[in-house]
Structures are given as C-alpha cells and as structure tokens.
Symmetry: C2
C-alpha cells in the first residue's frame, strides 16, 4: 500500500536533474498550499538526487509566491558533493513562477555520531486522550485549512484558548502529532511537521494566515515510530513580523528537528 | 575617514551583477576567514543591488569551503523583486571554488511597523568595565583568531571559565560588543556580529574550531549607536553537531538580530 503522504509527495525525474510533482489540494491552508508540505516535496526530490546521502541535515526555504494545487516543477542544482555531505540549490516552480527558492545540505543521519548532550527540555503534554483533537477545530478553521484533515493532532489544553477567543497570550502551541493514515515519521516528513501547527500568533490573539518569508529546518536524528511532540513559540513579535521556533521530539524523547521561520504578522481581520 | 570595517567589506561592481571583493586577513579565525565577515560582504553586495530595499531581513548561508585571504567574487542572481521585499540567490567564490551559497530577502527596515511585543529577555551583563576584555585572551586564542583584533568585546565573567580550563558546562557565552575602530553597528554589520563570539562549545569544554554548515540571520531592526549585547547558546549538542542560537540587543534594549547556525562539533584535540 502507498500512504497518502507518500502519494502526495511523489516526484518524477524529468531526466535533466529536475522533477515533476503535483501539489495536492489536501494541503491548502489560508491563501495557498502549506509551506511545510512543499518543503517535503523538495526534500523528496533531493533524496532522489543524493542516494548515498538521503537525509536532510539543513534546509532553508525562501517563499516567493503562494503555491496552488496542480502541477509543479522542482529544479535541483547541485552546488557541491563530496565527503559526507552534499549541498544543492533548489527551486519549486509553477507555470514559470518561482514559489520557493531553497538551499539544502544532505547527508546520512545513520553515519553521525551517537552522542546526545541535549539540554533542551521535552515539552510536557497530558496524554493524547486528555488533549484537544484537531477534529474538534471550529468549522471556520477546518474550511480555511483543509490540511488539518491530513493530521491527527492533540493540542495541549492550555494552548487552544484562541478557539474560544481566549488566547493565553504566551505565544506558544504544543501538540501530539501523527499523520492520519498511520505513516510513520521520517527525516523528510519532519520538514512538513515543523510547519504543520497553526500559526503561533493564534495564541497571541492574532488570528489569520501568517505568510512565511523564510524557514530553516535542521533535522538532527531519524525519528522513532510513534507519536511526535511538536512545540512552537515566538519571542520576538515586532515590526509587523515574528519569528517562530519549532521543536519536534520523537517517541523516545529525542529532539529530532529544530526550525525557525520569519513570518509576517496576520493583518487584523 | 573610512572605518576599517567599511574598508574590509567594500565591494566593486563588475557591471554584470557580480561584485569583486578582497577577503582581508584580519578576519582569519581557525582554518579560514570568519563566516560572519563573509556574510557582511555578501550583505554589502546585496545592499548595492537593491538601493530602495537596502536592509537584510533574512539571510541564509551554506558554507561549502573555507575562505582564504585574497580576491573573491560575489555573484548575485535576483530571484524576485516586487512589493516591499526582494530575494536573491548569491554565491561567494574564490578561484572558481564556491565558498558560500546563500539566499537573502532584503527590504527597508524603516518602513516596517513600529510595534514591539518582544518577550525574549535582554541578557544581564555587568557593566563593560567589570567584564573580561577580549584583549586579555590567552595568546593561543589570539593567534588562532586574528579576527579578535577587530573587536572590543567584554565577556560576562561567568562565561570565560574555559580560558582557565573551567568551562561552565552550560553552553552559553554573552558579551558586550563594538568594533574596535568605533564604527557604529548597522543592519549589514549585524550579519557579522551574529558569528563573532567564540564557539559556544568552548563553554562546554570542547575547544577548537567549529565549522559552520549553515547560518541564518534575521535582522529585525536598525541598531542604535553604542554597545551591543551579544548572547549565544546551544541546547542540542548531538550526533557530532550542534546548533548555536545568537541574539543581538542594541543600546536601547531592543532585540535587533536573531540567528541560528548548525555547526560541526570541534574534534577532540
């Protein structure tokens, strides 16, 4: 069987280093196709480009225009391959318009050392059954974000006050996360997970779509099967923009991905 | 008069969208030329490329090979210009070898909103005169890092135990910072400041050069004149790599820059 996520992120080599893809409408959110999903598409193309270095270590994406459901092209330009890592410049385009310009360094996570001296602290969440499921989202959120249908998310009850007009004001959202079809996480799917939660600005009472200017993700280890814990937060809302830091922890308690994005604040409705 | 920093970061248009530069040997550190300095050179070339959008908002640099003192070329490929921001792909090359592949989005920091809802906390440092000056660095550090001669840095006394073999083990270094020639900070010089401190791994007792794989900086406001406070820290040392998060605060107490880099851990000496 093919999982939904693998079907939606499939890429087909054009024979010239570029790949054809189809942006699925199941990933629409706000005014476009989710940026994390597009990052996983780019990640799949790069995995095919570097068979002996199949894992993203660092990926930086600059979002130039909003993606729409339909055909897309992913052009890969290898900038350096040698030693244990490879770096490429990548563009995702639709109809001649660049949606994303990205840089990425790939390697083999299995060949890294096994030292772990993480001092970051794993998010504390009640058990999934005591959290708030995304299926309970208000209808307006589900309509704005068909993408939510791809996920089984369980939000920390303290982080969903915005649903009833009572945001915590802390600028933090944490949730359990898994794909709805049961597909287990891997390094490429983590590129999507870091941009899957609702904008952290919801927790500040700033509702609306928050367009990403730039997102960089570091994948630090292969995730174990099972639930992921995802937490993101902002500490610098200023000048019409905000940064959003995301951490993804796997079921063994390992910090497997870190990302930061710079986004525009949603305009007041 | 021309300040040393402006002299060292001068770029000369070649007329084809690329720029000629000279990597000054005053910025050598460890096995190459400091990556933050190279980022400021790229930043200067982009400022010349976008006269009406002169400020870096986000810059992501992938370090492919170590820069050496001498001539360099900075090739700028504008990927999108329109509205309030412009995005370019940039490469810094020496003798046909790519040192850095970068993406950057530029804009006009003066045209952003004046809202500030920062919840990050400014580093607490004793007054500069009660901190430890970089001029007191051990001879071996000064020889490994001629770059230190460009700076007037005053380290938090709690963060320099590594100098006498007693690192705190916390993975944090904070310091007052200004350029030694009195040049005031600006958005482009902040691209250098975020990579100016000694590797945060020193504070973990891991001495040695820590090569950067990727560094992304967000410049969030124009810095006021005067001392900067710079703090960086790591929370995820694992698999032979670590992330380094840097914050730069200006003399008015505003968080003006945030960066994160992914670097390789120094090899044991």
């Amino acid at each position: 069987m093919t999982y939904e996520f693998d079907h939606h992120t499939a890429v087909h080599p054009n024979g010239d280093g570029s790949f054809a893809a189809e942006l699925d409408r199941g990933w629409v959110v706000g005014g476009g196709v989710n940026g994390g999903y597009l990052l996983s598409l780019i990640g799949t193309a790069l995995r095919a480009t570097f068979p002996t270095k199949p894992d993203p270590l660092a990926v930086s994406a600059y979002y130039l225009s909003a993606g729409t459901p339909g055909p897309a092209e992913i052009a890969v330009d290898v900038r350096r391959e040698g030693g244990s890592v490879a770096t490429a410049s990548v563009e995702l385009r639709q109809g001649g318009e660049t949606r994303i310009a990205a840089l990425a360094t790939y390697g083999d996570l299995d060949r890294l050392g096994d030292d772990v001296r993480t001092t970051a602290e794993e998010p504390v969440l009640p058990p999934p059954d005591e959290c708030v499921a995304n299926t309970l989202s208000p209808q307006e959120i589900l309509e704005m974000a068909p993408m939510m249908g791809r996920f089984d998310m369980r939000f920390h009850p303290d982080h969903v006050g915005w649903v009833v007009g009572q945001p915590s004001g802390r600028g933090e959202i944490a949730a359990w996360f898994r794909l709805v079809d049961g597909r287990e996480p891997d390094p490429v799917s983590l590129l999507m997970v870091v941009d899957a939660l609702p904008p952290v600005t919801f927790d500040l009472g700033l509702m609306g779509w928050a367009p990403t200017l730039e997102l960089t993700a570091h994948i630090r280890a292969k995730p174990a099967p099972g639930w992921l814990k995802v937490r993101h937060a902002t500490r610098n809302v200023a000048g019409g923009m905000f940064e959003e830091d995301c951490e993804v922890w796997d079921s063994t308690g390992r910090l497997v991905a870190q990302s930061r994005q710079l986004a525009r604040q949603p305009r007041p409705a």
